[in-house]
Symmetry: D2
Subunit: 246 residues, 4 copies
């Protein structure tokens, strides 16, 4: 469990400064750096540094997605979309993506969502129950980080199902144990360990996964302020991930 290594874990940008510098020292580099093979697409690999292992480990693996499963992804930001892409490694039957942004939902549809729900326009609970024949989903994957989306997961998870939390929460949530105690459900939380980087790398090399789909904008280093502004207005700019290069 690298994420909770007693002297390591999440260090850069958390317990020490981050990587926006000319030179960066990587603590415990022996255990966390991977060689890039010649000819590999470096932009694709940028997506492997955080967003894809986060979506895959915290969402897909913890949600124990299996062939034939019905799953719901709540939140269609970059992390939610990373879940969407990597969940398809396990061939679920039904992938429902729920968000409030029509552009992101449209992107989700092109990335493989079988159903999309704009939760402003539609009642998400009702629609999920309709899609799943009133059973709920085998895995409800939370990629937002607020109480209302977590509590939606509590209502749409099927008996025996999984709630896999990815979102960074600032407040507590209400856990409805009065109904959940008997439902055989599993709730997981996780700070990404990046133990799956080698596996993800193989799926990129073999074209099973195309992480470049997540890149919507490119900027040069001298446009960095503009880049941050674009990312800051992600919804308006229809931005997912932004690449900075020389």
């Amino acid at each position: 469990m690298y994420s909770h290594c007693e002297k390591g874990g999440w260090i850069l940008g958390n317990t020490i400064d981050g990587c926006q510098a000319e030179y960066v020292r990587i603590p415990f580099a022996d255990n966390s750096l991977y060689p890039i093979p010649e000819g590999a697409d470096e932009e694709a690999l940028v997506m492997l540094s955080d967003i894809l292992p986060t979506g895959f480990e915290c969402g897909v693996l913890n949600g124990q997605v299996k062939p034939g499963d019905t799953i719901a992804i709540i939140g269609a930001g970059p992390i939610g979309l990373a879940v969407l892409l990597t969940s398809q490694f396990y061939s679920p039957s039904v992938i429902i993506v729920i968000d409030q942004d029509d552009n992101r939902l449209a992107v989700a549809k092109t990335f493989g969502a079988t159903h999309i729900i704009n939760s402003i326009v539609e009642n998400a609970f009702d629609k999920v129950m309709k899609i799943t024949g009133d059973k709920g989903v085998d895995a409800a994957i939370e990629a937002v980080g607020i109480a209302s989306t977590f509590e939606l997961c509590e209502t749409i998870v099927a008996a025996g199902g999984h709630i896999a939390n990815i979102g960074v929460h600032g407040k507590s949530v209400t856990l409805h144990m009065e109904s959940l105690w008997s439902r055989n459900i599993t709730i997981t939380t996780r700070l990404v360990d990046t133990v799956t980087t080698p596996m993800l790398f193989k799926t990129v090399q073999s074209k099973k996964l195309d992480p470049k789909k997540l890149i919507t904008h490119h900027f040069r280093l001298d446009q960095i302020v503009e880049a941050y502004e674009t990312f800051g207005n992600a919804a308006q700019e229809k931005a997912l991930k932004v690449i900075l290069s020389n």
Copy 2:
């Protein structure tokens, strides 16, 4: 997942009348009755009908107890004590039992608890942290069913650990996602499936498990009112499980 069989599951005493009758029809009997071999101790086997599989499946298996683990069992009633007995199948290093009843804690000590905490007298959180060198426990097993004991589990579970709920809750609880989101924990709920009855039966036959330890009182059928009164005043009567026979 027998417990959520669409037409079966928890039927007796729930969706139809229970077993206090001269004759009882068992729905789906083919899948849920086991032959008692000649010479088996029938009183021991009464404990296998509910309490031991409940403690074992919902507490020990869901808590993923492993050799060397540190575990805490919150609640030393019959179910908590069933967890205590069956957790020892997996050789944890430290077994902390927390309750408010000194008699039950004394029983827990004789059943294999390495530490006991009376949470009226002592601060349970502080003491668990002291015992575990401030790491918390690998598995916190809730066998009470109220908000305060569940929330105690949230504070004493180690990073990467498990909260296995057994208690029947009547109200919601507060889930502190603001601290738990990054702690790689797993929370489980479960209505017993009794899939482990054959395994438990083998452990009884081979003397690895002595369920009769849980029986404190015997009554004849014509003493049934007294039996219920005794069980109703369990703390005062120092009652765990009560056997009724001809």
Copy 3:
């Protein structure tokens, strides 16, 4: 483990007569029959009765195929091709199919094999080692049932890898423990349990799996002799699976 049920298991066509009759009694029908929903494609479902669960359970699940894995399937008959189709539920990077029949290898290529090897024309061991950078495969799946193909699996399996046997063997094989003892490998055998029928059914309904690809010929019941002759000369007739209907 239905396949080794003490009174059940593989009965039809094994311990009692098979199904070629006007009426058939199915022992333990409660546990082994599934309702066909209205509108389902019955020909596709015929493939779910044996060939697909066999390939999936004995080959793919026992071989523990994971995203990014390299796998080899030895034998491109209907069972080997069922492995090929269902292994893709788990997104392996490299799928090598080895056979001696160019037609079946060509079919394998259209079904998703990334590499094909005709072991008459080429040295299968050399070519697998070349494809895998001298590491061997994560899973070698034997779908023939003779000593030479099993022993090929022993040579091409990577350290830590799996040999999943499906083939029905008539003779013993030589197990090279003098090299394998230290290689951390797992060898499995299995008579299909059909526990995955519900999962496979969902993948068919959601179009993740198209079992009809395996059907090459159709006959009416009054052409049954011709049908058997076609299946008896499978290689020559380029036959995979044959459907008989009214």
Copy 4:
């Protein structure tokens, strides 16, 4: 899988010289050395360096020993006895130890074997079948390394069971696939990874495991020749493990 690390793995005494020297350089020490806490019993910990993780990982974990299981350990040398000690972490019902040395079998009995078989005096297959009611054992653990003991495992393993090989084999063995193909068995091989050293350490510290039981002789460094002779005549000298100290 440390044992197959491309640049590491089994180095000392294999690809470079071993440890009989005044100073020793440990390659990749960061990943393979553990601090000894003050007050720990150093002689007990010597047993954790190889013999206990070997028995535990290759025998008990690979054999997937579960509560209530019936297991057979073939070979009562130090490794077989390490399996015997660590298998009890998982509370099997029946532990049969098979050897040809009465002294070692007597030791096995005191270490927790429920049944012992001297395979010179008795027919091991017949006796195992009698003990297990003709079902065979859930796990057959091979701790010798010759064809006859491996092939005994093939005959005594139950349907759905495990053969966990530990023995270092110099020759191939005959694998009876003509009977095993349909028996749903799993055969594993493994070079110890020592990933369980921290877990084993916790079981020693908490007195769940007493590895000193395996130490039969002590010598001073200046008696090293005598020590080797004793270990060389282990059967005659009734030697298990020998400690050398200043």
